[in-house]
């Protein structure tokens, strides 16, 4: 069986060699140059993207670090953690501008506001408009 196949295959090969010829190219030089160009193009390493993702990520991290460092240097009071008292109003000084008045100040019971208490202000009768 095997001998038969081999002889058969040898016959076929010789027949193909005799009768099958490569078709002739009309412009062989042109085709050749195109093939060479394509081979050359595929051989070159691909051009890197203008903004590779990794580069962009690193530049972002660097920018944030720079911003943090600059904030700490230029605005040190803003870089630290703020205490609750900074979000609550406070009377630094208060003085009455008339000898019959006295002024005191204290924090409101809700701990959010602050109160200035003026004592000794003249009573205003209801018939006097204050609007």
């Amino acid at each position: 069986m095997r001998n038969f196949d081999e002889t058969d295959w040898a016959k076929t090969k010789s027949l193909l060699r005799e009768h099958l010829t490569a078709p002739g190219l009309e412009h062989p030089d042109f085709v050749n140059s195109r093939v060479l160009e394509e081979i050359e193009r595929q051989g070159k390493p691909s051009r890197p993207a203008a903004f590779p993702l990794r580069w962009l990520a690193w530049s972002g991290i660097a920018a944030l670090l720079t911003a943090g460092v600059l904030t700490t240097i230029v605005l040190p009071q803003q870089a630290g953690r703020r205490g609750d008292t900074e979000f609550i109003s406070q009377v630094i000084a208060a003085r009455a501008e008339s000898p019959q008045l006295s002024v005191s100040e204290f924090r409101a019971p809700d701990k959010r506001g602050v109160v200035i208490w003026i004592e000794g202000a003249e009573y205003i009768p209801a018939e006097n408009s204050v609007r």
Partner: protein
């Protein structure tokens, strides 16, 4: 090209504004506080102040006699006139990340009653007990918003 973009990106990051309060305003109000039975409904702008006023000054009814709002920024000097009789001169001495330091002068007619220097933080009001009027008490409110 890529260098230009990097420079632009860095500039943008460095230029980005911080957590600075911008566009804040100072609100002032003249309130008449009285005791009534039953108490009258609290006007909407005074609702959040009513519990403190009741606790500190002891009044259950409030009337809004006047209110005024002005822009607040470093160096500004504003006249806040919540009523024709009482008004404030507010000078912004400094501006911090969370508050403003103000010099506040309270006038009755042309008479200066009180001068105060206060650091006002946003949504942290200043209550000023003014003179008694009729059957009630005048209370001044100042708040950064």
């Amino acid at each position: 090209m890529s260098r230009c973009l990097t420079a632009a990106f860095l500039l943008l990051v460095l230029w980005a504004p911080g957590a600075h309060p911008a566009g804040d305003r100072i609100w002032s109000a003249l309130v008449l506080a009285t005791n009534e039975d039953p108490s009258t409904p609290i006007p909407e702008p005074l609702k959040k102040f009513a519990p403190v006023i009741e606790k500190v000054f002891g009044y259950n009814s409030l009337y809004l006699l006047g209110q005024k709002k002005r822009d607040l920024f470093y160096g500004s000097e504003q006249w806040l006139v919540p009523s024709k009789e009482f008004f404030f001169k507010v000078q912004c001495l400094s501006q911090g990340p969370t508050s403003y330091t103000l010099r506040i002068e309270l006038y009755h007619d042309k008479n200066l009653l009180v001068t105060t220097e206060a650091r006002l933080a946003r949504d942290s009001p200043l209550y000023i007990r003014g003179p008694a009027w009729g059957k009630g008490q005048l209370i001044f409110l100042l708040e950064v918003r």
